[in-house]
């Protein structure tokens, strides 16, 4: 039927990452090729901080799917972004435990401090602010996730120090909380793409 106008040509993301691509695809049997969808999305997102429509089509092409299907999966998860997020993607958990521990105050503080509202990125592309649902670290609420790292029991002063550090582009090591996710033996956060 009607043919799509071609998008402006972009170099395929996986053009020079064939090895990584086949490694990901090899994790799944041939009939379950579409299972590689999540890791591939994650691969792109990690490198480009968002998954553009061109990448969605590329992934669809690789997996033999329609772009719509890739988009359906991608839009289901809040972790994939259509537009690039800032270098520091601040994710504030506002589910019950964090809320009780003052996540709303923390969110207000961040909004004022950064002059951003939920879902925005500042013009420099440094900070993005996003409210998320439970990060699974209720014991150390309130939790602020910066990119892939948890910052726990974030008080106003800790938060201010953190922001200052990030403004100098020096992301500090997260504080170690007892029972927190940043403890040395804590489960690996990498992936997020299970």
């Amino acid at each position: 039927m009607s043919s799509r106008q071609p998008l402006p040509t972009v170099t395929p993301f996986f053009a020079d990452k064939q090895e990584r691509l086949s490694e990901i695809l090899a994790r799944y049997p041939e009939y379950g090729r579409r299972s590689a969808l999540m890791p591939l999305l994650w691969e792109v997102q990690r490198a480009e901080r968002h998954v553009s429509e061109a990448r969605v089509e590329e992934i669809a092409e690789i997996l033999g799917l329609h772009a719509t299907e890739v988009k359906g999966v991608m839009s289901f998860y809040g972790t994939y972004h259509e537009h690039p997020v800032g270098r520091y993607h601040l994710q504030v958990c506002r589910t019950l435990s964090c809320s009780l521990a003052g996540a709303d105050t923390l969110a207000d503080f961040l909004e004022d401090e950064l002059d951003l509202v939920n879902g925005e990125t500042d013009p420099e592309g440094r900070f993005s602010l996003q409210y998320v649902e439970c990060l699974g670290s209720c014991g150390t609420a309130p939790v602020l996730q910066v990119n892939d790292t948890y910052f726990e029991r974030v008080s106003r002063s800790r938060c201010r120090a953190l922001l200052d550090a990030m403004r100098r582009d020096t992301l500090p090591e997260p504080t170690l909380e007892r029972g927190g996710d940043n403890e040395p033996n804590a489960p690996d956060q990498e992936g997020g793409a299970a």
Binding site: M1, S2, S3, H66, T68, K71, G72, S75
Partner: protein, 809 residues
């Protein structure tokens, strides 16, 4: 299995779903997400019921109820969705108790939370499943005092389908439909939870079967753009009829209001199209309402025409015909005429005493195969060889082929109809692609689903079939011709031979050539295929078996146009698109044209008689499988237009003769004698009959001298009416000249350019579409009734560039 539904005891087959048990027992349970012919998923939770079943002890004996001594019924701890629950021995289903009513009530309330109350302006109002269910199972009042979700209300998913995202209740029928039925996953849920909406990234839903989602949408979210805001459901006259757009015999419902066709919906014929029709059938009706339709007979006066009465027109024709020797008169009708019209044409030819009688388009070989197969056989086949582009030629068959790949035989019908939840169907079922082999001269859609796909050269089918037959007979064959290594060809042949039900589907490219048709028949014989032959138009089979055929090969349609006829009566045919034929017709002594529009041919005629479209006539058609199906007239204002029986009636009166076929009724008297049954009594689902094979092959000298390197290809949208079907044209684009990217680049052509190019010497206005599905050096142009599918000569060197496509940034 014994099942008790609200006290009614039933005996049902294992595997039946609980929802079908409830309906089989004569009770009702509300549902939104289930849909006959699609997988049950239990998404809407509307069909909740209280279900219990007896349990067994470890030793296999039933746990008994102490007081009654009967097996004790253990109820499930929560309400169960009946659509995804299979029945068990002794199962007890309760749909009437207060608990169940409360649960249903709560689900209705939940579903209505975000559903706008715009029923008074909704096209689905009065035919809406949600509305009905809300009345039956809801409380009638809303406790929801907050803002409802606001979303886009007029989102054009394509030129044919408009989506109202607020009305969507997320039943997922449309999303599942695309994956399960045509296999094109072009629609999906986007976002999550309360933000979920239906969307697509593809431009305009690239599938040939998009319209069906408007039928299955339980609310007014997905609407047919051709009929949006045109009428209320209770105002429509529903005519259950059969589509004359192709030879599938698909059941359709024509909805008309105040003399105008507003929309076409799919009818239900479990053995033919199930409940699906393609977009060509559904949206290709707007031409019937075109303002340029002829409403009264026209008589030539000098250079122009004058509107006259039928009597005057008929008297003129009768008087002029009397001046001819019978054998100089030719009568030709288009191959989508009904059997009754065929009888009328025959009667007219008999009366004037001519053997020059034919229907067109028509292939040389007979359309009745030696060992035929039905559409249902196709759906249950375990080996399929498809020759041609079935998806465009006969889309209904495309869907049944995909059914065969799923390997789920069609469900047994209940008293309440098709099972609402057929538990054998699943989302993302594996398709046995190894069952399907597709052979075509370009990359056709069906090849995506095929285990073996061979692209043969233009007109290379005969050679391929002969080579395959050679493989079957263990003789040497050229691998280049086979398009695959010999070992592969051998394993294909072996698979065909071992199959229980191997079927060969023969499309127009093969039937266009006698050699290829013979080769197909001998391959079929060699490996045991039964054949399905695809007629070029709706009633090709019917007109063949009722002998609307010339007495001699030289008197066929091409012969008549070539000069064997001095007087011509043409019904719905437009040969004058070819300037050479137009020149000959100009010198024709009497030209009577019966058509819907003032076509090129009608302009040359002495008398033009207004004809009826396929929606406005009563009659009978015979589908490709030999199924006799009724065609019924919808109440459409067509002025004084008449079908061919009406023409013959008027002429007969002018002759002073009562001709056979002067009405549908009199034609049926003749048919009853010939066929052995009365077409008046045909059931809506038709009657499957063994067909007589035509004795001698009456050859058509179809421009056999013209053998080009290009192809006329079938298209699901009838090209003769595409220009008058505004919505369909907007979705599909105009008639296309499809080219390989390199060929297009070499001539500076881009998708969307409008060009005029000679096809077999006939200049045609086409829209360029660049596609890598087309082989290098081949151009594809749409087949028309005048020039059916087959090889063609497309003179790209004489191409005139009319308009360039807009530059898109």
């Amino acid at each position: 299995m014994k099942v008790t539904v609200n006290g009614t005891v039933l005996e049902l087959d294992p595997g039946t779903s609980a929802i079908d048990a409830v309906f089989a027992a004569g009770f009702d349970v509300p549902y939104f997400c289930s849909q006959p012919y699609m997988s049950p998923i239990g998404a809407c939770r509307m069909c909740l019921a209280r279900i219990g079943a007896p349990r067994k002890e470890r030793d296999g004996s039933w746990i008994l109820d102490e007081s009654s001594g009967e097996p004790k019924v253990f109820y499930f701890p929560a309400m169960m969705a009946t659509c995804t629950t299979a029945i068990m021995e002794g199962m007890v289903i309760d749909t009437l108790s207060k608990d169940v009513k409360d649960a249903q009530n709560a689900m209705v309330e939940f579903t209505l939370i975000n559903h706008p109350l715009d029923c008074p302006v909704c096209d689905k109002g009065g035919a809406c499943e949600l509305q009905d269910r809300a009345y039956e199972y809801g409380t009638g009042r809303s406790r929801f005092v907050f803002d409802k979700r606001h979303q886009e209300k007029h989102h054009p998913l394509s030129a044919l389908i408009t989506l109202d995202r607020e009305r969507c209740i997320h039943c997922k029928r449309c999303v599942r439909y695309f994956e399960e039925v045509p296999g094109d996953e072009v629609l999906d849920f986007i976002e999550r939870g309360g933000h979920t909406y239906i969307g697509t990234l593809e431009d305009g839903l690239p599938s040939n079967f998009t319209g069906n989602i408007t039928d299955i949408c339980p609310v007014g979210a997905l609407l047919d753009a051709t009929s949006r805001f045109r009428g209320r459901n209770w105002e429509y006259d529903h005519t259950f009829t059969t589509s004359l757009d192709d030879a599938s015999g698909s059941a359709i419902v024509v909805d008309a209001r105040t003399g105008r066709i507003e929309r076409i919906k799919s009818g239900l014929n479990p053995e033919v199209n199930k409940s699906w029709i393609d977009d060509g059938i559904r949206f290709g009706h707007e031409y019937a309402d075109d303002p340029e339709r002829l409403k009264r007979p026209l008589l030539r006066r000098g250079e122009g025409f004058e509107e006259v009465s039928w009597e005057e027109a008929a008297a003129f024709v009768a008087e002029r015909l009397a001046g001819f020797s019978g054998k100089d008169v030719g009568v030709a009708i288009r191959a989508d005429a009904t059997l009754e019209e065929g009888v009328a044409a025959r009667a007219l030819a008999q009366h004037v005493g001519t053997g020059q009688l034919d229907h067109a388009p028509r292939h040389g070989p007979s359309l009745v195969p030696l060992h035929g197969a039905t559409v249902l056989d196709v759906a249950t086949a375990d080996a399929l060889l498809v020759l041609g582009d079935v998806t465009e030629e006969l889309p209904a068959l495309d869907l049944r082929i995909k059914d065969a790949l799923k390997g789920v035989s069609p469900p047994e019908l209940f008293a309440h109809g098709v099972p609402i939840a057929d538990l054998r169907l699943k989302e993302r079922m594996p398709r046995a692609s190894e069952r399907l082999a597709v052979v075509a001269p370009y990359r056709v859609d069906l090849m995506k689903y095929a285990g073996a796909a061979v692209q043969v050269p233009v007109a290379g089918e005969a050679a391929w079939l002969q080579a395959m037959a050679a493989v079957a007979h263990a003789q040497p064959a050229d691998e280049a011709v086979l398009g695959m290594p010999r070992a592969e060809a051998e394993s294909l042949v072996r698979a065909w031979r071992e199959a229980q039900k191997p079927i060969m589907i023969v499309g127009g490219f093969v039937l266009a050539s006698e050699a290829a048709t013979e080769a197909a028949a001998s391959l079929a014989k060699a490996v045991g295929f039964r054949q399905v032959l695809v007629p070029p138009m709706a009633n090709g089979v019917g007109l063949e078996i009722t002998q609307v055929l010339p007495s001699h090969a030289r008197y066929d349609y091409q012969g008549m146009l070539g000069g064997s006829a001095k007087a011509l009566v043409l019904s719905n045919l437009n040969p004058a698109v070819d300037p050479a034929v137009a020149e000959r017709l100009r010198s024709c002594e009497l030209l009577v044209v019966h058509d819907l529009f003032l076509t090129e041919t009608a302009r040359l005629a002495h008398v033009v008689l207004p004809g009826t479209s396929g929606y406005e006539k009563d009659g009978t058609m015979v589908s490709l499988e030999g199924r006799f199906l009724p065609v019924r007239a919808a109440p459409v204002d067509a002025g004084e237009a008449r079908d061919l029986t009406g023409v013959v009636k008027a002429l007969g009166e002018a002759f002073g003769q009562r001709l056979e076929g002067r009405s549908v009724r009199s034609a049926r008297r003749v048919l009853r004698k010939e066929l052995g049954f009365d077409p008046t009594e045909l059931h809506r689902l038709g009657l499957l009959r063994e067909l007589p094979r035509r004795r001698a092959i009456v050859s058509l000298n179809v421009r056999e001298t013209v053998v080009g390197d290009s192809l006329r290809v079938p298209s699901l949208a009838r090209p003769e009416y595409l220009g008058r079907n505004a919505h369909l044209r907007a979705a599909l684009g105009g008639p296309a000249l499809r080219l390989h990217p390199e060929d297009a680049a070499a001539r500076g052509l881009r998708t969307g350019d409008e060009v005029v190019v000679p096809v077999d010497g006939v200049p045609r206005r086409l829209e360029v579409r660049v596609s890598d599905a087309v082989p290098r050096g081949v151009s594809l142009v749409p087949a028309t009734p005048e020039a059916p599918a087959g090889p063609a000569a497309v003179a790209l060197d004489d191409l005139v560039h009319e308009r360039r496509a807009l530059e898109v940034a």
